[in-house]
């Protein structure tokens, strides 16, 4: 009897730690907000700061991160997502603004490009058994070349105002619609991860490829679908980016890559610790953006952004290793 109570007491303690771990990122986010609110109360702690900058302007990063965690869950890296995002934005701008095609045709062209890139990534990764990091690094570079080619290295503007209206101008509770699109995608991915066999299969393919194979899962198909999904979702992020900025430039989209990875890994330390999960990723994006926005309000130079994102990525992975040091992380 004594032993039994001891066990349950111990489990209770562990449960409490687990709970803390789950919500540590949210606590850190709140702490960060409080710090900036304290340091710069008049400028930082205003609703427009949150509605426009933190929630509103970062829908692109949220969407990109949500796409990224799909192949990450299946055990593959996709570092071509930022290039696909930029390419998608540029295709949209070229077709719609420069060549005058209707918006829906341009959007279809973007999605088709995402499908093709995803298939190519999957083909080389799966059939030639090349590490995903290498393949997607290569496709990213090829795509960057294509972007410079079709844009002649120029920034394009003048896309249909309808797109801009439906992304950033129209608002609900003063928050641009783009935010709600990103949240809707988050809900869909959460549902797929948690409540469909596909989500379970993704997880098993990522954690134990051999277990998955011997349990009758088509590992090839699961990995392929995951890589195509991340590419297609990256094109959506590109379309939203055009709506947010009103145009496309050949370079700035590429800077989303590191924050997306940082958010994905940081998100994997919370809500469902040890797993890439949509809610954690979304919170992680807001955490990162809050940090950067706050630093901007304090008048810190923009180069700090890079440092903040990079440090956050390394810290996130280190933290998850430290907290869950008892086991090897299934994050790679």
């Amino acid at each position: 009897m004594a032993e039994g109570t001891e066990v349950s007491a111990k489990e209770k303690r562990i449960d409490w730690l687990v709970e803390l771990e789950k919500y540590a990122l949210i606590l850190a986010w709140i702490a960060l907000i409080l710090v900036f609110a304290f340091v710069a109360p008049s400028s930082f702690l205003q609703w427009p700061t949150f509605s426009s900058i933190i929630f509103g302007s970062q829908a692109v990063l949220v969407v990109l991160t949500l796409g990224l965690i799909i192949p990450l869950t299946a055990g593959d890296f996709d570092v071509s997502v930022a290039a696909v995002l930029t390419f998608s934005a540029m295709i949209l701008a070229v077709l719609n603004a420069k060549m005058g095609l209707p918006l829906w045709q341009a959007v279809l062209a973007c999605l088709a490009m995402g499908l093709i890139v995803g298939f190519l990534n999957a083909f080389f990764i799966i059939f030639f058994r090349i590490h995903s990091l290498i393949v997607t690094l290569g496709t990213a570079s090829v795509i960057q070349g294509l972007i410079l080619w079709i844009s002649s290295s120029q920034t394009l503007s003048g896309v249909s105002p309808g797109l801009i209206d439906w992304v950033i101008v129209n608002r609900l509770f003063d928050i641009p619609l783009a935010f709600y699109y990103a949240m809707a995608l988050g809900v869909i991915i959460w549902y797929v991860f948690e409540y469909t066999p596909i989500g379970r299969r993704l997880l098993f393919v990522g954690r134990g490829r051999e277990v998955a194979r011997l349990s009758g899962i088509s590992v090839v198909r699961v990995r392929g679908v995951a890589l195509v999904a991340s590419s297609v979702i990256a094109t959506l992020a590109g379309i939203i980016n055009v709506g947010t900025t009103g145009g496309a430039d050949p370079l700035s989209g590429l800077t989303f890559l590191l924050p997306a990875f940082a958010a994905a890994f940081l998100g994997a330390t919370s809500i469902v610790p040890g797993r890439f999960n949509p809610l954690g990723s979304i919170i992680a994006v807001f955490f990162l953006v809050t940090g950067i926005t706050g630093l901007n309000f304090l008048g810190v130079d923009t180069f700090v952004q890079n440092m903040f994102n990079g440090a956050a990525l390394i810290l996130a992975v280190s933290l998850s290793q430290l907290v869950r040091g008892r086991k090897e992380q299934g994050l790679t």
Partner: protein
């Protein structure tokens, strides 16, 4: 007698002393005696066999000499007449002039022969410049000395298995050349089962090398399961049984049967082919012409409710059969007939096999059978996910209920579906993984070492679960080297050697001793089968 180091540095070696002399070596693992007062002596210029069944203590003895295990107090060890303090530190064996070649050789396949030969030197040597031309020249000289035709620039992955083994042996011997020179001792080389994966011609090449090394004055300790090989190459042999020395034989004066008697502890009766009777039983599963990996042209029939055991020595291929039948590793040819449907094993995938009603529980529990850091729910429901899929998504509550029910049925402790698989004991993990497959009601259940690393109590439960599956009408195939387990659960046991079935035990012959004995004999049975002669020659005399 205090320190090995001070002793080793001084004086000439005692050439009349044994190369290796160990006494009173015991080792206890958690209350269980693995070795009990073992004495082991090897003279210079001798090839000394070390034999014994799995669990006889062979590997424990070797690990003590290699410094992996500390022996129980009271053990003593002398190398070429010098007393060495036990326990040895890891890696210390090299300084004593001992070298080990393990079954898995420790070569890096993508590197060249020369790089592999120099591996330990490259790992430890200081300095900034490697004179590759000189090293290549030296490698050629070493190979020439032992009559080996190895190209230093060839990649190891391009070499046939035999040459890899030869390289590993030469390397081990070459690694201790410095120590041999310093202490003026000829060295001792341990070969831990180097032959099971080699073809017969390869074995004779390897023996040539062993003789070359002995001619240099060294001693070789040859660990093997194969009595024929021991008869051929060794001068003497020590046989371990249940952690004790069962005896030491002068090979020249010993017969095949003498070895077998010491290995399994009693004389064996003359081999008799057993008539077996499957008449009246409904044949439900038929594999025919299965070839792939080590397995050559295997045909086997099972009826409903039968548990068939597969066993053999390492390298005999019996453990590949479940994977071939499941499509987990691709067969070159062969068919599997289940009820009235026939599947081509060259084509079949794990998915197809599952749809056909085949289930495989792999031996590598947390590597290929289940994912340790996922929950019991996740692991158990994986093969049946679609049945929990509704329009609104996965029925999580039903999944939990199923896990909890199966956990109760298979007596999983603790039966907490949210727990991660790896937090359970080995036995309970295995019950979970059995449950994972049993719920699919397979008509053919394939098992690989189902009770490896499972505690005694859980072992009985796993046995019970396996028998239950059979009683529900499935045919079960279980590959294992655990003879007690095979005896406990199997109706019939097939013994493999060199990829072929060489013996079939049924009915009253399915006992632990009988399986052990026939497994020890399996290589001889295989040879006999190939030579087409009846009865093994016991007059074999080693010259």
């Amino acid at each position: 007698m205090s320190s090995s180091h001070s002793e080793l540095g001084t004086g000439a070696p005692d050439t009349s002393a044994p190369a290796l002399f160990a006494e009173h070596v015991s080792k206890t693992f958690g209350g269980e005696r693995a070795l009990s007062d073992v004495a082991f002596s090897v003279v210079p210029r001798e090839v000394h066999g070390l034999l014994g069944q799995n669990g006889s203590g062979k590997s424990t003895l070797i690990k003590i000499l290699a410094g992996f295990h500390a022996p129980d107090p009271g053990a003593s060890l002398q190398i070429f007449g010098r007393t060495v303090q036990l326990p040895l530190a890891p890696g210390q064996f090299r300084g004593l002039g001992l070298a080990f070649v393990h079954q898995h050789l420790g070569l890096m396949p993508s590197l060249t022969v020369l790089e592999n030969l120099m591996l330990s030197e490259l790992a430890t040597r200081a300095g900034t410049y490697i004179n590759w031309a000189r090293e290549r020249q030296r490698a050629r000289e070493v190979f020439a000395r032992f009559d080996l035709d190895l190209d230093p620039s060839a990649k190891v992955e391009d070499l046939p298995q035999v040459e890899r083994a030869l390289l590993a042996i030469v390397r081990a011997f070459d690694d201790i050349r410095g120590e041999r020179a310093v202490h003026d001792t000829p060295g001792i080389l341990f070969l831990d089962e180097p032959t099971p994966f080699l073809p017969k011609e390869g074995v004779s090449q390897l023996f040539g090398l062993v003789r070359g090394i002995v001619d240099e004055g060294a001693s070789v300790i040859f660990v093997s399961h194969d009595v024929d090989e021991v008869l051929e190459i060794t001068d003497r042999a020590t046989i371990l049984r249940d952690g004790r020395v069962a005896g030491t034989l002068e090979t020249a004066n010993a017969l095949y049967a003498d070895f077998v008697e010491l290995i399994i502890g009693r004389r064996i009766e003359a081999f008799q082919a057993e008539a077996h009777d499957l008449r009246g039983a409904e044949v439900d599963v038929a594999a025919s012409g299965v070839t792939g990996g080590t397995i050559v042209d295997l045909s086997v029939n099972l009826h409903r409710g039968e548990v068939l055991g597969l066993t053999g020595l390492i390298g005999s291929g019996f453990d590949e059969v479940p994977y071939l039948l499941f499509g987990a590793s691709r067969a070159d040819s062969g068919t599997l007939q289940l009820h009235d449907k026939t599947y081509d094993l060259h084509e079949i995938s794990p998915q197809r096999a599952m749809e056909a009603g085949v289930a495989l529980l792999p031996g590598d529990r947390l590597g290929t059978a289940g994912v340790g850091d996922l929950t019991l729910i996740d692991n158990i429901t994986l093969p049946v996910l679609s049945s929990f899929h509704a329009l609104t998504g996965l029925k999580r509550r039903a999944m939990r209920r199923r896990t909890s029910e199966l956990g109760r049925e298979f007596d999983v402790r603790p039966n907490v579906p949210e727990k991660e698989l790896e937090s359970l004991s080995g036995g309970n993990q295995q019950k979970v993984l059995l449950a994972k497959w049993m719920q699919t009601s397979p008509s053919l259940m394939l098992l690989d070492e189902p009770t490896q690393g499972v505690d005694v109590g859980a072992r009985q439960q796993v046995f019970g679960a396996i028998r239950d599956v059979a009683e529900q009408g499935a045919a079960v195939i279980c590959a294992s080297t655990d003879y007690g387990q095979l005896a406990a659960i199997c109706d019939r046991v097939l013994i493999f050697a060199r990829g072929r079935v060489v013996q079939e035990l049924v009915g009253s012959d399915v006992t632990k001793d009988r399986i052990a004995e026939q497994t020890v004999l399996s290589l001889a049975l295989g040879n006999q089968g190939e030579a087409g002669t009846a009865g093994h020659s016991t007059e074999q005399v080693h010259g």
